[in-house]
C-alpha cells in the first residue's frame, strides 16, 4: 500500500487542496463516529439512551454533511457529500483512529464519546475564531450541539465511574483500551501546522492543556484513574487506520457501491 501518495501538508500541495484535506479530517471524524453510534439503534440499555445516541449520531452526520460538501467544493473535482462519504476507501478516510473503534459495551461507547466530545469542544471553539468564514460558521453551529453531547457523555462517565463496582470496573477497562488512541488528538502533523499557521485552525499544542484539564477533572469526579500515555502507531488522520474502519465502511457504503447513485 502506498501511504506516501496520500500524505498531506507538504508545502508543494496547493492551499485549496491542503484545506480540503484538513476539512475532510473533521468531516470523517464526525461521519465515522456518527455511523458507530447509529449501530446502537434498537440495542441501547434503555429507550432514553437509545434516543440519545441516535440524536447525537444525527447531529454528527449533519455536521459531516456540511463539512463534506465544503471539502468537495474546495477540492474542485466534482465530488459531492455522497461521493465523499460512500465512494472512498479506508486509506482515503482521515478520521481520528479513536472514532472508528468498535462500540464495545455501553461504558466503552461513553468513554469514546466523551474523549471526542471534549476534543470537539476545543477544536470547534478554535475554528469558530478562525479566518475561514465558511468553516467558522459550521463550527459555530456544531459547537452548540457538541455542548449537549458532552453533557450527556460526561454525565454518564461520572454515573458509571462513580456507580457500582461493576460499572466502575467496566468504565476503567474502556478507558485503558481507548486511552492509547488519544495522543493522535493533539500531536500535530504538517497539515495541522500549516492550517494553524494560516489562521484557519487552532494550534493543537495550545489546545492540549485545556482538553487535559477537562478530562482530568471529569475523571476525578468519576473516581477513575488516568492510564499512562503510550506510544501509538495509528495515524487515522493520515489515512493509516485500525482494521475496524474497513468493516464499518463495508456496512455503511454497501448500498451505494452495489447500486451506484441509488435514490429513494
Amino acid at each position: 500500500m502506498s501511504v506516501a501518495a496520500t500524505l498531506p501538508g507538504t508545502d508543494a500541495q496547493p492551499q485549496h487542496e491542503a484545506q480540503a484535506q484538513y476539512v475532510l479530517r473533521l468531516a470523517d471524524t464526525s461521519l465515522v463516529l456518527g455511523q458507530r453510534l447509529g449501530e446502537w439503534i434498537g440495542h441501547a440499555p434503555a429507550l432514553e439512551e437509545d434516543l440519545a445516541l441516535a440524536n447525537i449520531s444525527l447531529d454528527l452526520i449533519g455536521q459531516a454533511r456540511l463539512l463534506l460538501t465544503y471539502a468537495g467544493e474546495l477540492e474542485g473535482r466534482g465530488r459531492d457529500e455522497d461521493a465523499l462519504a460512500f465512494l472512498r476507501d479506508a486509506p482515503e478516510f482521515f478520521n481520528l483512529a479513536l472514532a472508528e473503534q468498535p462500540n464495545g459495551d455501553f461504558a466503552h461507547t461513553i468513554v469514546r464519546q466523551w474523549l471526542i466530545d471534549a476534543w470537539q469542544l476545543e477544536i470547534f471553539a478554535g475554528l469558530e475564531r478562525g479566518l475561514d468564514t465558511r468553516l467558522a460558521a459550521i463550527a459555530a453551529k456544531a459547537i452548540r450541539e457538541t455542548r449537549y453531547h458532552y453533557r450527556f457523555s460526561s454525565g454518564w462517565l461520572v454515573r458509571l465511574g462513580d456507580g457500582t463496582e461493576e460499572s466502575h470496573a467496566r468504565t476503567q477497562r474502556a478507558l485503558a483500551e481507548l486511552w492509547r488512541f488519544t495522543p493522535e488528538l493533539f500531536v500535530p502533523d504538517e497539515l495541522d501546522e500549516r492550517m494553524s499557521g494560516a489562521g484557519i485552525a487552532p494550534s493543537l499544542t495550545e489546545l492540549a492543556p485545556r482538553w487535559s484539564a477537562r478530562i482530568a477533572e471529569d475523571l476525578r469526579l468519576a473516581t477513575l484513574t488516568q492510564p499512562p500515555t503510550q506510544p501509538y502507531p495509528w495515524h487515522g488522520k493520515r489515512g493509516v487506520h485500525t482494521e475496524h474502519l474497513g468493516y464499518l465502511l463495508a456496512e455503511m457504503q454497501h448500498l451505494q457501491r452495489a447500486y451506484r447513485g441509488a435514490h429513494w
Binding site: 432514553e48 440519545a52 444525527l58 447531529d59 455536521q63 456544531a142 452548540r144 450541539e145 455542548r147 454525565g155
Partner: protein
C-alpha cells in the same frame, strides 16, 4: 401574475408549518432569515437549519420552494445560511406561546451549560404550570426536544431544549 410584495411573501412563509411541530410556522421558529428583492426584481429567501442533522430541513426547503413557485416566484432564489447559527432565541414570543398550548414546554433560560449533573433549569409543566418537574432524558423524540415529567400532575411532556 403580479409580483408579490415583501409582506405577501412573509405571509406566504408564515403559512408553512414546521414538519415536526406543525403548530409552529417556519417563521415562528426563526428558520426564515431574510426576504429580500434584488436590483433586477428577483426575490431571495434565506433559511437556516435548526440542528445540523435535522431531517426536517430538506422537507422545509421543498415546501418553501413549492410555495414560492405556486405564488409565481419561480425565479426566486432559495438560499441556506449558517451564520449566525440558529438558537432557540430565534423563536418568536408568539411561537413560545403556541408551543405551550400544544403541550411542549418552551425553552427556559439561555444556551446550554456544559455540566449536566449540576441540574437542568426549572421547566414549567405545559399542562398544570408547576415548576416541580424532572428531566427524564436530555434527548427526546426529535433533535430539538428533551423528555420531562411533571411531579405535580404526573404528566410526561416534551421540552423544547435550549440551544
Amino acid at each position: 401574475m403580479a409580483a408579490p410584495s415583501e409582506r405577501a411573501l412573509w405571509q406566504l412563509l408564515e403559512g408553512i408549518p414546521d414538519p415536526e411541530i406543525p403548530v409552529l410556522s417556519i417563521v415562528d421558529l426563526g428558520i426564515v432569515r431574510e426576504v429580500r428583492q434584488e436590483a433586477g426584481g428577483r426575490w431571495r429567501v434565506a433559511i437556516t437549519p435548526t440542528y445540523s442533522g435535522c431531517p426536517a430541513t430538506d422537507v422545509i426547503r421543498q415546501r418553501v420552494r413549492a410555495a414560492l413557485d405556486a405564488a409565481g416566484c419561480t425565479d426566486a432564489v432559495l438560499e441556506e445560511v449558517l451564520s449566525p447559527p440558529w438558537t432557540t432565541d430565534w423563536l418568536s414570543p408568539a411561537g413560545r406561546e403556541k408551543l405551550r398550548h400544544f403541550g411542549i414546554a418552551p425553552p427556559a433560560g439561555s444556551a446550554a451549560s456544559l455540566r449536566s449533573l449540576r441540574g437542568p433549569p426549572a421547566v414549567s409543566c405545559p399542562r398544570c404550570g408547576s415548576r416541580d418537574s424532572e428531566r427524564v432524558s436530555e434527548f427526546g423524540s426529535t433533535p430539538c426536544k428533551a423528555h420531562y415529567r411533571c411531579r405535580a400532575c404526573a404528566e410526561p411532556f416534551d421540552y423544547f431544549k435550549c440551544l
